[in-house]
Symmetry: C2
Amino acid sequence: MSDSWMVFLGTSAGVPSKLRGLPSILLQYRGKYLLLDAGEGTQIALSRYGIGSSKIDAILITHLHGDHIFGLPGLIQSMGMSSRKKPLLIISPNGLRDFLEASFKTTDFIPQFDVEIREPERTAIGDYIEIVPFKTCHTSLPSYGYLVLGKTPSGDLRFSLAYTGDTKPCESYVDAIKGSEVLIHDSTFSEELRNEAWSFGHSTSKDAALIAREIGAKVLFLFHISNRYNDDLSLLEREARRFFSEAYAAIDGMKFYL
Amino acid sequence: MSDSWMVFLGTSAGVPSKLRGLPSILLQYRGKYLLLDAGEGTQIALSRYGIGSSKIDAILITHLHGDHIFGLPGLIQSMGMSSRKKPLLIISPNGLRDFLEASFKTTDFIPQFDVEIREPERTAIGDYIEIVPFKTCHTSLPSYGYLVLGKTPSGDLRFSLAYTGDTKPCESYVDAIKGSEVLIHDSTFSEELRNEAWSFGHSTSKDAALIAREIGAKVLFLFHISNRYNDDLSLLEREARRFFSEAYAAIDGMKFYL
């Protein structure tokens, strides 16, 4: 069994459903735990999968829309209630601090551990993980994706994973994620709603598949999926596989060994 | 079948678990929908039980601790995404507005429907429901419980329900809820942890049962239950029933016809 894995905690677009929680992905490598986005319900999903919230070392936020950050205040408070001492690193576009401070002030909470908020930049998480942010094309708010590189003790590349967050397809990030083995890409709609997808700064499953092919990925996870596909989850996969055979619609609770 | 019901959306104390989500209760009477507290994950629980978030007319907040309010920003944004037009009334102790405004500003969201925030006072919700807030004894933050009265078209009392939110037992609210048929009471711990319960402004199941007996309730729901009882859910019920026979530990998804 591999020493590195990720699990999809929530895979929906902006509104949750019976099937899908709001966006969040947990990644573990060599004892370090990273969270990619933290939609409402992230701490609840963690408890469902038996993972203590205090294990998390770093949280990477792609952009400041509510469905990607409203799980943060509760998650951090639960870390506090479990007497966490180790510092928490949050990488996020500018503006998160005001929201977290308002959350804590209103609810009379002061974390008893360091919460460092850093703007997106190349960052080492422990000795074996490196984070490389890249700009994406979502809305007028700043938006980033993250390339996560896992290294062996000898410095070789063990895995590479790119998570786009919300974005329409655009060339600006293709170079940044070229060669990434695992791609987790916005796939809000299917191709028949391409205009709607692009106008809201999102991608279709075809868009995601074409990017996966272009960067030479080994596997593509379709992510941030609209509730309109709850009755036919295979539709997006079928569309994507016409362009990239190893495409899978992400499902809450799905675990993947890197 | 009764025309009035409530469903427990989340029944845990401060931290959620596999079994229990964070505090929230939905009540329906004559087409009006009330939410009592809105812990993180409230909108996810609503979707699980097939209830559109836009149905909600009013939200009653007992106090401004995170586990009772962190579901609000996402819930209100989801209401906005479903093109809600009808106004939303939120009754809450002072301070909620700053938190909600920070949430909306950070995430670039402007509700396209009226959100009225009102401090606790006697309030009519439509023609048949009346809300009567009462002060409780939790922490140094202001805390309230709510008495919900359902009236018939002829003005008779159809049901009465008292929800305490978080509180240790204290005489100050007993008069306010005297005669209430349904009591939903803080029952964070069992009697062996009474000192811990009271020092944190909470009640034991024995406390809750004694209050239910004193006010002449017909049924008591033990609520806001610590995760330490997940392996023996009957313990709190057994303790309470020594003092009040119709005591039940609330469970997520449990529906009760009023």
